[in-house]
């Protein structure tokens, strides 16, 4: 929140002869946590003005008595550091431009687009370094954010953590490689929330799921009336990310035309909305992720080489789960604790046999698959300990590798076959080459359950 003890709140003065303008702007800015004062005319404004009291002054160009232009000069004499933003009733560009020449920061026309106003003020504050001070303050207090939800003690994951810590505070473009389900978005979020941009949003664009015909608008936005049905301006993802981070997920799926467009924006930090000619300046950090072989795509000509080099500046590879099996118990227990508490079920652990299965399985869907497996097991669990039978994963021969007795192998084999045929006893006894009574006896002996 803005109201932290050590922060000096941003202080604003609104000078306008219209009560409704003073009131609504005062209210609007109070919700931002600013200190707001107002004045109905130049005399009142000058009475309140002292050097260093106000950071930003909103000034109506047309005031009774001394007008806004004259007041602007007087303010500059008293407090040259205050940022002045002129308010005009209608777009009287001439006067507004004149005020800019005399040192006003910008002007707004009534009624003003709240989105424009909000970003205008945010930019002023950024320039006045108040945000920076605030960021530094928070950094001193809490140091680095915990890298939340990314679990792993294996050397492979420790290497990933080290890379995140090294690259996060910089503005370097990051490419995250990894199979699907390895948690690439979590890595992107960890980088963002440990960067100086953390007080601005991280905007995810799923490049694999872009709606055909809307890709351009998705990235760059469009003006009102750019096409049928566009009653209002749409801001693109790049504009929404201003100050923050853009995360391009499945970047390998971007079409060549959009690759060209994005490359230009990355180089110039500016673009225009579809159907518009206003130049929009943006400042964002780029993080991409892919599970595709981009080098191959470059060779095959489906991915632009220059775009590839722009993106592949600092690359982090997340190992698949089967290459860091020592992390599996840690992950299972993390998800178990989390899911059991959210489902309000007193499930607390896995049986030794269940854990053996979890560790032996190959997890082609990686962490996402493991999380889903634990979730289903928690749903069906009827005791504090999750048993191997309650896990929705196929039995692998490896699961019994630690116990090679004839009984153990027979038990695993019967269980496998029963699962393959969906517990159809007749079918299973045919496959196993034994009669149904023998099968029932064996099911009972080994305590097999669906």
């Amino acid at each position: 929140m803005n109201q932290e003890k050590n922060d000096k709140p941003v202080s604003l003065l609104v000078v306008d002869d219209e009560l409704s303008v003073r009131d609504s702007l005062t209210k609007w800015f109070k919700e931002d946590g600013f200190k707001v004062d107002s004045a109905a005319d130049a005399t009142e404004a000058l009475k309140k003005l002292k050097p260093g009291v106000f950071d930003i002054i909103f000034l109506d160009i047309k005031l009774p008595g001394m007008d806004g232009m004259e007041l602007q000069r007087r303010i500059k004499d008293v407090d040259p550091n205050a940022t002045i933003i002129m308010i005009t009733a209608y777009a009287s560009v001439d006067t507004a431009v004149k005020s800019l020449k005399e040192g006003a920061y910008d002007y707004v026309t009534k009624p003003v687009d709240p989105d424009y106003l909000s970003h205008l003020v945010a930019n002023v504050i950024k320039q006045r370094r108040l945000v920076t001070e605030n960021v530094q303050l928070k950094e001193r207090i809490q140091d680095l954010y915990e890298i939340d939800q990314i679990i792993g003690e294996s050397p492979a994951m420790q290497k990933v953590f080290d890379m995140i810590k090294a690259v996060a505070p910089t503005d370097t473009t990051v490419m995250i490689r990894g199979e699907s389900g390895t948690g690439k978005e979590l890595i992107a979020r960890a980088i963002h929330s440990n960067s100086p941009r953390r007080f601005f949003p991280i905007i995810t664009v799923n490049c694999g799921g872009l709606t055909e015909g809307l890709t351009e608008s998705e990235f760059f936005g469009h003006e009102k009336g750019a096409f049928t049905g566009a009653l209002y301006r749409r801001k693109g993802k790049l504009e929404l990310a201003d100050g923050g981070t853009v995360f391009l997920d499945e970047v390998g799926n971007i079409d060549p035309k959009t690759q060209t467009d994005l490359l230009r924006v990355i180089e110039t930090k500016q673009f225009t909305r579809v159907g518009g000619d206003e130049t929009i300046h943006v400042d964002f950090r780029l993080i991409c992720a892919t599970n595709r072989d981009l080098e191959l795509a470059v060779k095959q000509g489906t991915f632009r080489e220059d775009f590839y080099y722009r993106l592949n500046v600092f690359s982090i590879s997340i190992p698949p789960l089967r290459e860091r099996r020592s992390d599996i118990p840690l992950l299972c227990n993390y998800f178990l604790k989390k899911l059991a508490s959210s489902m309000n079920k007193p499930v607390t652990s896995f049986s030794a046999e269940a854990m053996e299965h979890l560790k032996a399985y190959d997890w082609p869907g990686n962490i996402r698959e493991l999380r889903n497996a634990v979730e289903r097991a928690v749903v069906v669990a009827n005791a504090p300990v999750i048993t191997a039978e309650q896990l929705p994963i196929p039995r692998t021969p490896k699961a019994t590798a630690h116990d090679q007795s004839l009984d153990a192998v027979e038990q695993a084999h019967i269980q496998n076959i029963l699962e393959q045929v969906g517990w159809n006893i007749t079918r299973a006894s045919e496959v196993l080459g034994i009669d149904r009574t023998t099968l029932y006896n064996k099911i009972e002996k080994y305590g097999l359950r669906k």
Partner: protein, 177 residues
Amino acid sequence: MNIYLLPLRFPDNHLLPDLASSISHAFNLTVLLLEKPLSLKEGYDPVRNQYNSTWILAQILKLFPEENCKILGITGLDLYVPVLTFVFGEAQLDGKAAVVSSFRLRDELYGLPKNAEKLKDRLEKEAIHELGHTFGLIHCHDPNCVMFTSTYAEEIDFKFIELCPVCSEFLKKSFHL
């Protein structure tokens, strides 16, 4: 303390049950539906073809069912305050009443395909946001917090429906919620 939900020319009544439970979850308070007719005619500006949200707040304040409660007006009308082109909603900071509009939250206004799920999600977030102001919460710096300021529909999608730990703590300390 109770929170009252007051539909004011709101076309999507089917969204109200989920909205009520989301609000109840956010503030840990009972949410009740309040059905009182309120003429909005005088709040209409024919030139702007919009309704003055500050005027609507004043009308809501007149029909308080009990002393210690909050009321959230919910409408499908396009709202404005005089100096701004539009608002998603308005609230009395540290007060009793708030109003929120679904009008500008619809994807189809921006030339995108209709998306019922997004409309519901945005409305719930903005409703909690405006009510948060009535509890004295101001805009939050945490981009994930529901009290992060949003002045554009798709911006609402990037914050969560939850209050961040700092804002929750403020509610707990001030109101024991």
